[in-house]
Amino acid sequence: MTSPLLSVRNLRVTFPTRQGAFQAVRGVNFDLGRERLGVVGESGSGKSMTGRSLLGLIRPPGKVEADRMEFHDQPLLDLSERQMRKIRGSRISMVMQDPKFSLNPVMKIGDQIIEAYRLHAGGGKAAARQKALEMLDAVQIRDPARVMETYPHEVSGGMGQRIMIAMMLAPDPEILIADEPTSALDVSVRTEVLNIMDRLVRDRGMGLIFISHDLNLVAQFCDRVLIMYAGRIVETLAAQDLHHARHPYTQGLLNSLPRLDAPIDRLPVLQRQDSWRDAEPMPDIQKTEFPGGL
């Protein structure tokens, strides 16, 4: 067994509100190996907050606490902003949901990639430009030299998302956190973006945290899935076992989806139970710790 890239124990994210402290994440435990790890849940289940807290992206007054949050045995919690910046972007990076909001609208795409790359990897402008072209090529953008000279509003959503991925992957991170990377994309573009990420995980041995609300997609794409409900992980499954999920919440989510292959008159509606909020997660029944085995 290899040691995990990332190890998280009892992660808590708290926001003070007028009604008292609100816990968005309430004691999350997981390890990430060189695998595709899916994190699924409804809006408000704390999945994005979990991803953001790993990179210290929770702004005050939000508070992140954990018994352990280690990246290669290096604690990530309580790093100074300066130390965090060494890790964020270069060793762990993140792709957000909507490229429209994460690219700088008044800067050429090439310049953005070059700037990001030089910030993390240093080096001359010419080398960075070469690297940017390579990365755009790696995410299957046709005519990268032309795209380098365009502004974000001139490219489509799918292209924007691929550009974001190119930018995030230029410094060769060890972990990529992808927060709903394909939710804003059409199905045919989605497949392309997933293929790119899949290849990067396989070829570079990167760890991928794939945050999504789409259970079926995650089951098909990832190796292992964490299901979150109300700030906690209620169940961890090997992706191919998703349809044998044992937690009623996971089953409820799966059943509430209309399916092309199995028509029904009425969709079963998820009946939430208060007991799910604090119950222990389903016992782990996985045979191996990292079924991806990368």
């Binding site: 059409d186 199905v187 045919s188 098909q220 989510l253 509430s256 989806l257």
Partner: protein, 250 residues
């Protein structure tokens, strides 16, 4: 109920003119549920907006109940027959109008009497209790907001509902509730639906027939059963069905 014949919709002027919809032709029978599917930019929402009178640059023929409509002018009778529900329940309700204000305005515009009793009925119809009547949108969840938007559309007692991605901003569990609600309302009130969605499974669940669109053109009109069977006549339809089925590792 609704006929659309050789509909063209364009935006802008040459040389920047974009032909958003080209030669779209379909008809929806009373009581039918008709779907429009396609990827973003394929023109599916544009057709709905042209029917509703939100776009004035169109040509061709649109008829509702055998009455032709023109431009963006719609008479009172049209709005009594046709109502629309929009995609984003967070954007389609006025943030400073309470549920009561939203519904009573819609009812007053339709010249309805007995507004107080009707609001209570509308809220019951969409499965919101009376307790929601004086809430503001920020006090409601996404699913509850979409219920209010549906109640607002029902206020006119329409016979044709135009649904533009009514559940794509919602969680799957909430989506199931709203789809069930729409199915119930259609049975109760004898409604006709035209539903736009990018989600083939949702359209197959809700619609008897559907049109597949690509680049502003209707590629194919097929039955829901044919969609389930994956029996597309056109390459694009089959490609779309396959891509929607999910991800298979290359």
């Amino acid at each position: 109920m609704l006929t659309v014949d050789q509909l063209d919709v364009w935006f802008g002027f040459p040389p920047d003119r974009v032909d958003a919809v080209q030669q779209a032709t379909f008809a929806v029978a009373p009581g039918e549920s008709f779907g429009l599917v396609g990827e973003s930019g394929s023109g599916k929402s544009t057709i709905l907006r042209a029917v509703a009178g939100l776009i004035d640059t169109w040509s061709g023929r649109i008829g509702v109940d055998d009455q032709p409509v023109s431009g963006t002018r719609r008479d009172r009778n049209f709005y009594k027959t046709v109502q629309m529900v929009f995609q984003d329940p967070y954007a389609s309700l006025h943030p400073r109008h309470s549920v009561d204000a939203v519904l009573s305005e819609a009812l007053r515009l339709q010249g309805m009497q007995d507004i107080d009793r009707r609001i209570a009925r509308l809220l019951d119809d969409v499965g919101l209790g009376r307790g929601f009547r004086f809430r503001y949108p920020h006090q409601l969840s996404g699913g509850q907001r979409q219920r209010v938007a549906i109640a607002r559309a029902l206020a006119a007692e329409p016979r044709l509902l135009l649904l533009d991605e009514p559940t794509s901003a919602l969680d799957v569990s909430v989506q199931a509730e709203i789809l069930n609600l729409l199915a119930d309302l259609r049975a109760e009130h004898d409604l006709t639906y035209v539903m736009v969605s990018h989600d083939l499974a949702v359209v197959a669940h809700m619609c008897d027939r559907l049109a597949v669109m690509q680049h502003g053109r209707i590629v194919e009109i097929m039955s829901g059963a044919a969609l389930r069977a994956g029996a597309g006549q056109q390459d694009y339809t089959r490609h779309l069905i396959q891509a929607s089925a999910g991800y298979s590792r290359a």
